[in-house]
Symmetry: C2
Subunit: 187 residues, 2 copies
DNA sequence: GTTTTTAGATACACCTGTGTCTCTTAAGGA
DNA sequence: TCCTTAAGAGACACAGGTGTATCTAAAAAC
């Protein structure tokens, strides 16, 4: 229903795509955001986290799956929902949390945990933002391109950014090799 | 004109905000994307790149300026333009390049160049994606939050991600400290 | 089996933006 | 000054979505 509506996250389009009448939608989801959340929950199937035995392959495979399965919806989210949620005062982050099945583990956490178990990583990431970095970058890419990105980009994110970073800074408070000051001096 | 239209990147709203008639807009910008590009060029003032003497402060200051000056417009871009440009087959990246005053240097390039001159960095970033990483992450954050982000986030992007990464991997082809395989096996 | 609930289908008035056309008025150039 | 060009204002039919109301037919509950 979301899939082909595309520029149609409207009661009208949803009703047509769902093969039902607008009145039915209004009865069940009187407010727009309820309708959209329900529609998204319907299509936001969980993505299987790969377990290949290597952090790099896990990461690349996972990003590829997300790229394949979420690109269309992300394009719609970025475009159509953002302004509605902005008017409501809510954000896409909140929407993501809402339909993202609160409590479910972030996909890259599992990948990282296994890498630590195998000894492939010596230390866990210094902050949640690092764990979610590849997904954030992929999402950014999908939003900017309004759809799928290429495998090249995914490989670059993993090989040039994520893996080097994971192996770089053990702790946010201890300086890295070059002695840059890492501290929260600003609030 | 873009500023208060907000949910109004329409001929109608632009005309009203500009205090003119719709017909005038149609005459000068017969196609919507021409109108939007012109409107954006009007408000997309260049951002002054700071020169504080330190890479870290430069980066944080620059991100803060972008955060302050672009947040509103980014929110609109992400929301309203994405779907129009998607329908056209174009992307936000292309739009950014178009209004981003082609040929103008990416803001973080100047910051990096100075850091290299000072000897603060030993090697240039291994790829353009690394140079643009903080801006990409900030943009992602602004899109997801439909507006400004906080200083904390900016500091995290710089201290936890960008600086450690810049000091980590000299070359995409030589392994880093932990010997992860960095190669483009897929493509 | 009867009653209650719900789905599905119209129909309605309404609003907002679209793209085009016309007319008048104000400026600018020669 | 005259003449050309564009600005500004308004009208137009039209398309699409909105939110509500009403009706019938099909399920579900009892």
């Amino acid at each position: 229903m979301v899939r082909d509506g595309y520029s149609g996250l409207t009661y009208e389009a949803v009703a047509k795509a769902a093969g039902t009448a607008r009145a039915v939608l209004y009865r069940r989801w009187p407010q727009r955001h309820l309708l959209l959340e329900a529609a998204l929950r319907r299509f936001w199937a969980p993505i299987e986290v790969p377990d290949t035995g290597s952090l790099r392959a896990d990461a690349i495979t996972l990003l590829e799956r997300i790229n394949d399965e979420r690109a269309d919806l992300i394009a719609v989210l970025g475009a159509k929902l953002a302004d509605y949620y902005r008017d409501t005062g809510a954000t896409l982050t909140e929407l993501r949390d809402k339909i993202g099945m609160a409590g479910r583990e972030a996909p890259f956490d599992a990948v990282l945990a296994r890498a630590l178990d195998r000894g492939e990583l010596r230390h866990p990431p210094a902050a949640p933002r690092i764990a979610s970095l590849p997904l954030d970058l992929l999402r950014h890419e999908m939003m900017m391109r309004s759809g799928r990105t290429t495998v090249d980009v995914i490989v670059e994110i993993v090989d040039l950014i994520w893996l080097p970073l994971l192996n770089a800074s053990p702790h946010p408070t201890s300086g890295s090799a070059s002695g840059i000051a890492i501290a929260r001096q600003r609030g």
